[in-house]
Amino acid sequence: MTRPYPHNKLHLALDHIALARTLAKDIVDQITPFILSHSTVSVERSILRLLGIQGVDPEGIPLPNIIIDHLKEHHLLEEGAARSFAKACLHFKLDPQTLAGQLACRERSFEDLPDFPEEQIVDKAITLTQPLLEQISNQRQSREHCLSSLGDGSEPYLYVIVATGNIYEDVLQAKVAARQGADIIAVIRSTGQSLLDYVPYGPTTEGFGGTFATQENFRIMREALDEVGQELGRYIRLTNYCSGLCMPEIAVMGALERLDVMLNDSMYGIIFRDINMQRTFIDQYFSRLINGFAGIIINTGEDNYLTTSDALEAAHTVLASNFLNEQFAFLSRIPEEQQGLGHAMEINPDVPNAFLYEIAQAQLIREIFPRSPIKYMPPTKFMTGDIFRGHVQDTLFNVASIMTGQSIHLLGMLTEALHTPLMQDRFLSLESAKLVFKSLRHLQEEIRFTTEGVIQQHAQTTLQKAVGMLEEIQKIGLFKALEQGMFAEISRKPTGGRGLDGVFAKSSKYLNPSAWFDVRSS
């Protein structure tokens, strides 16, 4: 598959698609002023990381957290952490990391820093972030270089997860998977990390259902994949989760360590982790600025809606949300080519003709987002302990994917209902996908859908319903829509959930670091 996707097999009404985009933009525009006028503790921590601050104190608390507490204590946060550090560096003539260390052992305080001319502060701030922003740019170039010199897999990319909880076992399994043909390796995060309001530090070997996302773990895995990729003559992409209460910080860490793909949704945390929506909208905006700048493909999480809602009834909510994620991404200047919008094959296989509806939905997303490296998720909800049946369901998923030109193909595992993948599960899954993709490689170009058939009609109806839903949201606003449980049938309150206490209004003196990305990403 080469994007943009060229076919128009569903006879979709182009004006419906345009209308949906206008509505989605409107909805995002409604909350943009709020987003731009606020920041959060995690945004500020990520700015500290961009200044080069890392490490933990003797008790293991990350320096960025300690500093934010300090700034908060002295009511300096509203001006932005960057301003305090620019001033402190100018004043103490020390680098941020040294200053951070001193702050951490209470050898120094930022209280009562003398003021400097605004221009000097801005200049300092820019100079301070220069090295890491350059490192990010270099990583981006490095990726582009590897892709062009080593070569890339072909779409649909084979994407598998490792989730042993131990980064070293993960590395081993990731390498095994790469040798077997995986194009993308995702390291799944430990259960519960998303609700931590700090990022763990160093290499870790004890996670549940996943491995902690730490910068060191990112580095270790990146190195391993570069090594095996070099050997295989194929660049192996690395994925992690830019999600949860530390979304922006993880974006920085990922950008620095050359992750290639990040799970990064504008609303997932709200809906599935009960993170406060104000917090999330601000965090996602900033994290996406970084992802966009770093050339990282974001993956959105609409597939998750279908784990709590019925995949047939809620098909349009996925599409509507894709439109919103697209507009949120545009707001952070992420181009379509970096927007891996998510969707899934989750219809109950007991529904007669389930596959036809799946094809309709998959093709619909493909055609509406022709430039997006859309992410297609395998059956999970209706997987059972019968691994043989599961292998069949996954085979049909592979067929659907290659038939509809998906881009990022998450491999289904025959043991989905049982455990995070064993080494052999991943192997069997890769073998299956490779077989199907090879065998059906050009099926897509060989078939047309019957005019006004079930497939076309289901796709058209889904689009119509999505437009209807967006119209509704545009009227009531996104906050209200979330309160009404319009996504995944889960309702959240604007002031409920975790992390609201980390949100604050920027003061008029706030030093806005997002401007930096403007310059560089253009």
């Binding site: 909880g165 095994v176 549940f208 259902g209 009960d274 064993l422 052999q424």
Partner: protein, 249 residues
């Protein structure tokens, strides 16, 4: 027709008592004839006879995957198997509401949550939320039940506090993530907390999740446990039965 001796049950491939089973596993040894022999020896040492390594596949990095067919000589006495089961009758929604009204004379109060780091609410929602599961309405839809679903990632302390506050009859706990026996840790934590506070007998304690069953839950110190395919009425029947039994005492 082959006649089966239920005192001596063996796996059945295509002939009675042939003992044929299928296995697959990975060994951390490099692919090759020696690997194949290692797999065969593993099977022999595990007590199988005539093991056939039907395929050995190179996973890379010094790992090899095998599929085997082998014969087992292990026999099970099927006649001796007794599975502990819930003793009460399984009632329907309308019967439950009626019995609460007539026999208990007040609402039954039930709190539930998916505790600690676990965020899989679909299971507990299936039991508690209005909508229910597979056409079986959830506890919220019962007129005579006060059902309070706290959702996901609720700490044991929070859950206990809530149970106190609403004077709950029963506490329902869902645990879905089982990797490294996390569910056992979390479930045990709740029991310990209750015992610590001398409250273990104050509430009926019920666990549920894909890897939970009655036996396991009892072992962990719960009053009952429910696995896949449970509906609200299963849980409500049980809770009501026990609450009524307590009233009588």
């Amino acid at each position: 027709m082959p006649t089966i001796d239920y005192r001596q049950i063996r796996p059945y491939g295509d002939t009675l008592d042939d003992g044929i089973i299928q296995l697959s596993f990975t060994l951390p040894v490099p692919f090759g004839e020696e690997a194949q022999e290692a797999a065969r020896r593993w099977a022999l040492q595990s007590g199988f006879w005539d093991p056939k390594v039907v395929v050995a596949l190179d996973l890379g990095e010094g790992f090899t995957f095998f599929v085997l067919y082998a014969c087992s000589t292990v026999c099970i006495d099927f006649t001796s198997i007794e599975v502990p089961k819930l003793s009460h009758e399984r009632l329907e929604k309308s019967e439950i509401d009626l019995l609460i009204r007539t026999l208990l004379g007040r609402k039954l109060v039930i709190v539930g949550a998916c505790i600690e780091s676990d965020a899989h609410t679909v299971g507990i929602d299936a039991i508690m939320n209005m909508k229910g599961y597979n056409g079986h309405k959830g506890l919220e839809s019962y007129h005579e039940i006060d059902a309070i679903n706290l959702g996901s990632q609720v700490s044991c302390e929070e859950l206990l506090t809530k149970a106190h506050e609403v004077l709950a009859d029963a506490i329902l706990i869902s645990q879905v993530v089982t990797q490294k026996s996390l569910h056992l840790q979390n479930l045990t934590r709740m029991v310990e907390l209750l015992e610590l506070e001398g409250l273990r007998d104050r509430f009926l304690l019920v666990a549920g999740g894909p890897r939970i069953n009655y036996e396991l839950a009892k072992e962990l110190g719960y009053d009952a446990g429910f696995g896949p395919g449970t509906y609200a009425e299963d849980v409500a029947s049980f809770v009501l039965d026990r609450v009524l039994a307590r009233c009588v005492k």
